[in-house]
């Protein structure tokens, strides 16, 4: 039977497995520097991390193998792929499969999950906010990041975005600095 490879669906699985595999190998190899067997059969500082690294690497390898196998599907079966995707993913979080009536909607929802662009945009803008934090202080950097997220990603009106950003930053200042006396990063000039 001819097989095609569902690159898009499998790449995440394979990448995740490779990440765990690599991390496990790094941990296991580095652990050998700390010693693997202690005096009198006791633990050495490297014993637990070495064992954990080996187990993680094995799990990563299994996940990669499963990712490769699940990516190989009979050619010309897109309907079946969609069905499998929707139902399998729907079982995940609660550990229960929704009834047939729900599955179509769940499948639609699951297919919408790979739209990672808003995630990357939100993450990137938060990252920029954190980068400027040592200069502007927490509240100003946070307000700017939230304003940018609401305006650019969520397409809110300027006034709405500005109001939410200012109110949230003010709330954070009052909650942390005033109520709980937990200091936040200050601007460099203070």
């Amino acid at each position: 039977m001819q097989h095609s490879f569902r690159f898009r669906e499998s790449i995440g699985e394979i990448a995740g497995g490779l990440f765990l595999l690599a991390l496990g190998v790094v941990w296991a190899v580095t652990s050998t520097d700390y010693g693997l067997i202690g005096e009198g059969g006791r633990l050495a500082p490297g014993t637990v991390p070495f064992t954990a690294g080996v187990i993680l690497a094995l799990c990563g390898a299994v996940i990669v193998a499963k990712g490769i196998i699940s990516g190989r599907v009979p050619a010309g079966g897109p309907e079946r792929e969609a069905e499998v995707d929707g139902t399998a993913s729907a079982v995940n979080a609660a550990g229960v499969a929704p009834p047939v009536t729900e599955r179509k909607a769940v499948a639609t929802r699951v297919r919408s999950f790979p739209q990672d662009h808003p995630v990357l945009s939100v993450y990137g803008l938060v990252l920029i906010g954190v980068l400027i934090m040592p200069i502007t202080g927490f509240s100003i950097a946070f307000a700017l990041a939230i304003f940018a997220i609401l305006r650019l990603v969520e397409r809110q009106r300027i006034r709405t975005a500005a109001a939410i950003a200012v109110v949230t930053a003010l709330f954070g200042y009052l909650l942390f600095e005033v109520v709980f006396n937990l200091p936040l990063p200050e601007p460099f000039f203070l």
């Binding site: 995740g16 652990s31 993680l56 929704p98 009536t101 993450y123 954190v130 709980f180």
Partner: protein, 513 residues
């Protein structure tokens, strides 16, 4: 001092105005967090943990526990009103709660849930009072090998219940252990995996890692989800009829007992308890197979009392053995460690007032939930009309400011952001987060226990199999790996009898119990 004197002293601790106030704050904040789809109890506790750092330990723990069971009730509100469970433990409530709401009986369902939760909380409190001293005195016989066996039990059982991929669950547990090995080793004082960075000597920091994995990852996931349209709940709809009240009672008692005994099993948790209680109600009801799922109040009361009783039951292994049964109790265990308290057999003897104060605060919290939620349910329901876009800036604020406050340096924020990205990836590809959190919190305990066990046995690993308690726990751990397949069969059966059920807008949060 005998147990009753300690309980009396614990009560006087729990009832101080300051502790009652923070209990109130905890349950109200918990309710709001729980009813917002996507923000479960684990997220709530992780988010607000940094705010408690300046408090007295008992006050902080009372507030965090309040967030835990408050969020379960909040999750019920969204289950009933929009057919979207805010937490996996309220998934079953949706089966009958949402059809009730569509028939205009949202008030009956929510009030029944509040009353059932209170009964569940009260019954489990009495059982806790009996179980805790018994288990704690038994736990005093535990040495390092038994501790290791218990950690194995907790991690295997959570991995077993974590979802469809056991390999991913095991990988996550081990990943948690690996993160925990970063920093100065407690036994040898050698710096491990610090790669020359001084910042890493103290480890990555539990709070920033938890905030990243649980809260930031969830915020990122929510940016890809659509909103939902809540049913309009008016004050007039929010009353419970006498007949509904009568029908709430018996399922609540049954659910309370089921919930408590499921809750004390590590790894089983409130979600499983609610499923089993639902199945019990289906069997007890005449024509249950046909009627359940069509808006029966018994299908709300039973699971709601069960999930609340299970939430309390989960504190038994956590407080007496130091072994959490779920992601949320693992985070609470982390809170104990942050306050310099070591949960385990000695906690009951060293900190009896704190333990009893905390346990008795559960009842106060449940009473507050009952008093608040029956009249204020429409107000809480109105929060559901907020779009997520107005909420997540505040959640992000708590994440970043909390991560900073935990260590008072930018490093905490960077760690939280890094683990936010990792956590999102794990959510995206269905890696369960709960085993990771358990591995992270229990990793150091596992390593210390292994070292001491091998020191006792002069390096003989058979020490874990020669001691009877340790052997029994290890056998039980293996059995729990098999149990999930049985549970899945029960779930399939429950779901098989559901007729027309509401459509979930999004999946329940896996880490939520």
């Amino acid at each position: 001092m005998d147990t009753w004197s300690l309980i009396a002293e614990g009560w006087s601790t729990a009832i101080t105005p300051m502790n009652v106030f923070f209990c109130l704050i905890g349950v109200v904040v918990g309710t709001v967090i729980g009813l917002l789809p996507g923000l479960g109890s684990a997220t709530g506790v992780a988010l607000l943990l940094p705010l408690t750092l300046t408090m007295e330990p008992v006050t902080a723990l009372i507030m965090l526990a309040g967030i835990y069971y408050g969020s379960q009730y909040g999750a019920t509100i969204s289950s009933v009103l929009i057919g979207t469970p805010g937490d996996s433990s309220s998934y079953v409530t949706m089966f009958d709660g949402y059809p009730m709401a569509r028939r205009g009986r949202a008030g009956g369902a929510l009030a029944s849930a509040a009353i059932a939760s209170f009964i569940g909380g009260s019954v489990s409190l009495i059982l806790l009072m009996v179980a805790m001293p018994l288990l704690s005195s038994f736990a005093l016989k535990f040495g390092p090998p038994e501790t290791v066996a218990l950690v194995v039990l907790a991690m295997l059982s959570v991995a077993g219940f974590a979802g469809k991929s056991v390999v991913k669950a095991i990988a996550m547990g081990v990943f948690g252990v690996i993160i925990a090995t970063i920093g100065i080793d407690g036994q040898s004082a050698i710096a491990r995996f610090t790669f020359g960075q001084v910042e890493l000597f103290g480890g990555l920091g539990l709070i920033p890692v938890l905030i990243g994995l649980v809260a930031i990852a969830e915020v990122l996931r929510q940016t890809t989800q659509g909103g939902s349209e809540p049913l309009k709940a008016t004050w007039r709809d929010m009353t419970i009829t006498r007949e509904e009240l009568k029908r709430t009672m018996n399922p609540s008692w049954r659910g309370s007992l089921i919930g408590f005994f499921i809750g004390i099993l590590p790894g089983a948790g409130a979600t499983l308890a609610s499923f089993i209680s639902y199945e019990a109600e289906r069997r007890v009801m005449k024509d249950g197979a046909k009627r359940m799922g069509t808006g029966m109040i018994e299908g709300v009361a039973g699971p709601e009392s069960a999930n609340n009783a299970a939430a309390n039951g989960a504190f038994v292994p956590m407080l007496s053995l130091g072994v959490p049964g779920s992601a949320t109790t693992a985070i609470l265990l982390g809170a104990f460690l942050v306050f310099g308290l070591q949960p385990g057999p000695l906690l009951m003897t060293e900190q009896p007032v704190l333990v009893w104060g905390l346990i008795l605060s559960f009842w106060i919290g449940n009473l507050i939930l009952l008093v608040l939620n029956v009249p204020l349910a429409p107000l809480f329901a109105s929060i559901l009309r907020f779009r997520y876009v107005y909420i997540y800036p505040a959640v992000l604020l708590l994440c970043l400011a909390g991560a900073f406050s935990a260590q008072n340096r930018m490093w905490g924020i960077w760690i939280a952001l890094a683990f936010g990205a990792i956590g999102y990836f794990f959510l995206r590809y269905q890696y369960p987060i709960a085993p990771l959190i358990l591995g992270l919190v229990l990793g150091p305990l596992l390593e210390k226990g292994l070292d001491r066990s091998l020191a006792i046995s002069h390096g003989d690993p058979m020490v874990f199999f020669e001691r009877p308690i340790s052997l029994v726990i290890l056998i039980f751990s293996l059995a729990l790996l098999v149990l999930p397949s049985l549970i899945r069969a029960v779930r399939r059966r429950v779901l098989g009898v559901r007729s027309q059920t509401p459509m979930a807008e999004k999946e329940p949060v896996e880490v939520g119990d």
